[in-house]
Every structure is written in C-alpha cells, then in structure tokens.
Amino acid sequence: MADQKTLAEAGGDAPFRRMMRPMEGRLLGGVAQGLATQLKLDPVVIRLTFVLLSVVDGVGVVAYAVLWMITPRMPYEGSNRPPRDWSQLAAFAAIGIALAAFSWLTGASQGGIGMLPFAVGGIGALILWQQADPERRRNWMSGATKGMRKNRVRTMLGVALVAVGAVGFLAVQGELMAARPGLLFTAVVVGGLAVVAAPWLAGLWKELQLERRERIRQEERAEVAAMVHDSVLHTLTLIQRVAHDPREVTRLARSQERDLRNWLYQPAQDADATLAAAVRRIAAEEEDAHGLPIEVVCVSDIALDSAGKLAAMLKAARQAMVNAAKYSESPSISVYAEVEGEEVTIFIRDRGKGFDLEAIPLDRMGIRESIIGRMERHGGAARVRTEPGEGTEVMLTMKVEKE
C-alpha cells in the first residue's frame, strides 16, 4: 500500500501504463473495468471470468479482492461519485449464485462453498480498508502492531491454533476423510484467526468511535463559530457604525443578548406550538420593534389549542405590549405567563405614566377592541388596572381544555 503513490506518479508517460480502477461504469470496485482497459478486452468478459473463478474454490473473489487492494483508484473529477449500475451487478451476482448452487448440488465443487465465508469476511475487511484514507490506515496499522506486541501470549496462542488447524485441515484433505472432522478443523482455523484478529478488530472499533467523537466535537465547534460570526460579530460591527445613537446601540445589544441567551439556555422550542415559546417570541419581536426591554417569565407551559383561543389571547397580549411600549414611557415592561391546570394567565405590566381608563374615548380601538373585546369574544377575560402615575397592568385570563 505504501508504494501506491510512487507507482501512481510513475504512470502517465511510462511505457507500462499502471492499471487504475475507474469510477465511471464500475459495478463493484472498478477492478474488472480497469483490467479490461489494461488488457484491451470487453469488461463483460473479465466480469464473467471473475464470476466463474469465484464459483471454483472462491479463487475469483480472492483475486478480485487482491486486485482491488493493490490497484489505485483513478482520480475522478466531480463532487459526487457516479452511481453504480445495480441492475448489471445484480445480473452478475445472479449468475454467480446460480453457478455456485448448481456446482454445489452436483457436488462438483466442495471447497468453493467452504471458502465463501472467508471470501465474504475478506471483502468486508477490504471495504473498511478502502474507505479509510492513507493517514488513517497508518494509524490502524501502528495501533494493531502495538496491540500485537502487548498481547504476545494471545498472539502466540492464536498462531499455534491456526497452525494446528491448518495442518489438520491439510491432513484431512489428503486422506479425504469424511466432512465432519474437516469442519471441526475449519472451526479451529476460524477460532485461531479470531483470537489473532480480535485485538486488532477491537482497536479498529475503538479508533472508529474516537473519530466519530472527534467529528461531533468539530461540528459543535463549527456551530459555535458560525453563531459568533453570523450574529455576534455582525452586531458588534453594527454597534460601531451607529455609535452616535445610544437608543439604537441599546436595541442592538439587547437583541443580540436575547439571541445568545436563547441559544445558550433555552431548550429549542417551537414558537408555533407552545404558549411559553409564543409569548417569548412576541415579546422579542416587540422589543426589537420598540427598543424597549421586555422581561418575560413563564411558569409551566401548554400546547396551543386548535380552537384558536390561545392565539387570540396572544394577539391581545401583543397589543398590550405595544401599548405599553408606545405610550407608557416606562423604562421596561414585565410579562408573566402562567399555566395552572386549564387556566392560562398573562400579565403585562409597565411602570410608566398610566392613564385614566374612563377617559379613553370609545373609538380608541387599542384597549377596548383589541384587548378586552377580543378576549371576551373567545371566552376569556381581560382586566386593565391603571392610575395616572401608577403604571399599567393588563391581566388576561383564558380557560382551555387540555388536548
């Protein structure tokens, strides 16, 4: 594997063209395609040869695997790998299976079937190997050799088992004994291989887990970076540009603070689904629109009802916030939303100049229609408490059935 690079570089002008596995038109790994190009034959011929050889003692599979391993992939230009022609692949697989079944039924090939598990396992390992980049492979190899050195006893035991198994297997083959002891020795071989390979596979698994964790960490870091870049840096730049306008600076800082807070501390909520999230969103929107801090406290939560009662209540709450922001001259607004069983209550309070409720002309829509009228139409109630100089508090209540 290590000489892959040098060989690939030697290709091109060299008299002997290095065999490559093209990405386009490949069925499995592009080995047959590459070989066909190299030998100037039709790929179908090569593919059929591989299939035939596979049925005979699995030689084709092994040969394919070895070629796959030693042949470099042809550099492919384009972002997506070209898709495989699955129907053709299925056709070749069907031919192979049919041939194998036929030969097994007729007893023509005994060893072929026996070799199949090894071939399949080898292909699995190869796929893992091929997926990894050279850097990672080197890590695996060094990890594996380190593991081998550490578990010398186990390695020796495994090697011994393999040797015993192999000798036994050969002896059985030579004497053509019944299949049973053959299977027994095969089991010994497999056991030995497993003992040898186990630490390596475990190391491989651990390595993969580590990489996964590292990738997640990198994604998180990227998310933080994006957040800082998109919003925080942006806001800081804006603040410098409007530095002469203290009101705008406050508004920008406040809005950015809210964004960051939500991002850090608030569970992700769907503002279209639950009351608390909707109240927070409305408060945020009005805060941005009027440049006045709105403190929101929510106790417990409820899903928005389909009948639209809560939606109406939210509209009334928004109107109350708008009124407070526009007319109260209060430095801030407090919003408190509470769900207690089936009763939802929202308070909107300011410490502004207040007003005389009786003195409001009938045609002023703000309070009478948008707040009180709307609540009553939907079966709720609104109460406004205000005195000149005492601030204003709007209390909205609504009963809803839990769905």
């Binding site: 603070e257 807070r261 850090l264 501390y265 569970p267 992700a268 403190e295 406290v297 929510c298 106790v299 417990s300 407090s334 408190y336 509470e338 207690e340 308070f347 309070r349 410490r351 508090e393």
Partner: protein
C-alpha cells in the same frame, strides 16, 4: 455602612459595579477567582459578597461550599449573566441568599445588597418563576410536606415578584407590611435550600437539556 466584596473574573465588570453602587455601600475588596475569593473573605470579613456564578476554579458554588462549609457567617448575593435554571437553583441551593442578573440597575443592586445584609432574601422575577415552576411541576409524594410545598401566601408573593412587582408594591397589593413580604421570601428561600426533594435539582438540569 455595608461592607461588600466583589467576586468576579471580569475586571471591567468589577469596576463597573464599584462605580454604580451608592454611597451607603463600601466596597472593601475584589477577588477574581475561587482561591482569592476564599482568602479575601477570610481576611476582610465583608457583610455581603457579590458572587459571580461562572469563575475559574469551580465557580461561585465552590466559593459557597468552602466558605459556608467552614462555618463563616457571611452572606452571599449571586450576580450572574446567566439565567439558566441550573445555575440559579444551583447557587441558591449552595447557600446564596439571593440571585440577580447582571443587567440589574445600580439602584436595584444597592437595594438588593442592603436587603441581603439585613438577612433577607432577594429574588429576581426569573428566579421567582423558576421556583414556582419547580414546586408546581411535581406531583410526587414529598418526604417533608412543610419543606416540600409552598403556602398559598408564599405562592402569591412569588407570583407578584415574577410579574415585576417590587417588595413595597407587593405589600400594598396584599395589604401586608414589607417586613411580612420579606419573611415570606426568606421562608421560600429556606425551603429552596433545605428541601431535599431531588426533583428540584433534576428539574433544573432537565431545563438545560435541549
């Protein structure tokens, strides 16, 4: 004159608070991490410690653990930029007598410090909301009913705090004295600190999960 120690790892913030506090408060020192805070508290013996929640070396909770664990009679007011339930509940359970966020005005902070110095508790609207939520959310049987639930009156007081009322306004609203309001809030604080219903901590952590 109330003697105050400011513990915060941001120098800019410490000097900002120092400038904002009224004349009735004397800032006797500053500390910037857990080690220096524990040392300064032992040396200066302030009446009130303004304690940041997030600091190098274990944060405000670690300062509380080491100072209160040694039996010192100093009062803490937590002052943090975070309003995550986990932080708020954590530091109150650790022994702080109040929690306010850093965007509090200088005047309100002066009031809060005086109140903590007098042995009362200080709840921000958000903390009041958290407490209502935490004590309401569980139907589980409690081990100690006196500690594990709020009285009707305490609930009313907390609700008014959450609605943005000052203690004086609450007193007027409920026709009780400010002292009585303070008693109720202190009683809630005691429950919050002593109640061993683990739902409290679990509730706070669950709020953090996204």
């Amino acid at each position: 004159m109330t003697r105050v120690l400011i513990v915060d790892d941001h120098r800019l913030f410490r000097s900002g608070v120092r400038a904002e506090l009224g004349d009735s408060i004397e800032v006797v020192g500053e500390a910037e991490d857990v080690e220096s805070a524990v040392k300064a508290i032992a040396e200066l013996e302030p009446d009130v410690v303004l304690l940041d929640v997030h600091m190098p070396g274990g944060g405000g909770v670690e300062v509380l653990r080491r100072v209160l664990g040694s039996g010192a009679q100093v009062r803490f007011l937590a002052l943090s930029v975070s309003d995550a339930a986990e932080d708020v509940i954590g530091v109150i359970r650790g022994g702080a007598r109040g929690y306010v966020t850093k965007n509090i005005s200088g005047k309100e902070l002066t009031d809060a410090i005086r109140r903590v110095a007098d042995g009362d508790a200080v709840f921000s609207p958000r903390l009041a909301g958290f407490v209502l939520d935490a004590f309401a959310s569980s139907e589980a049987p409690s081990i100690d009913p006196e500690l594990d639930s709020l009285t009707q009156r305490e609930r009313e007081v907390l609700r008014l705090i959450a609605r943005g009322y000052a203690y004086k306004e609450i007193a007027k609203e409920l026709f009780i004295s400010v002292k009585t309001v303070e008693t109720h809030v202190s009683s809630v604080l005691r429950k919050l600190q002593l109640s061993n219903r683990h739902e409290l901590s679990r509730w706070a952590t669950a709020r953090r999960l996204v």
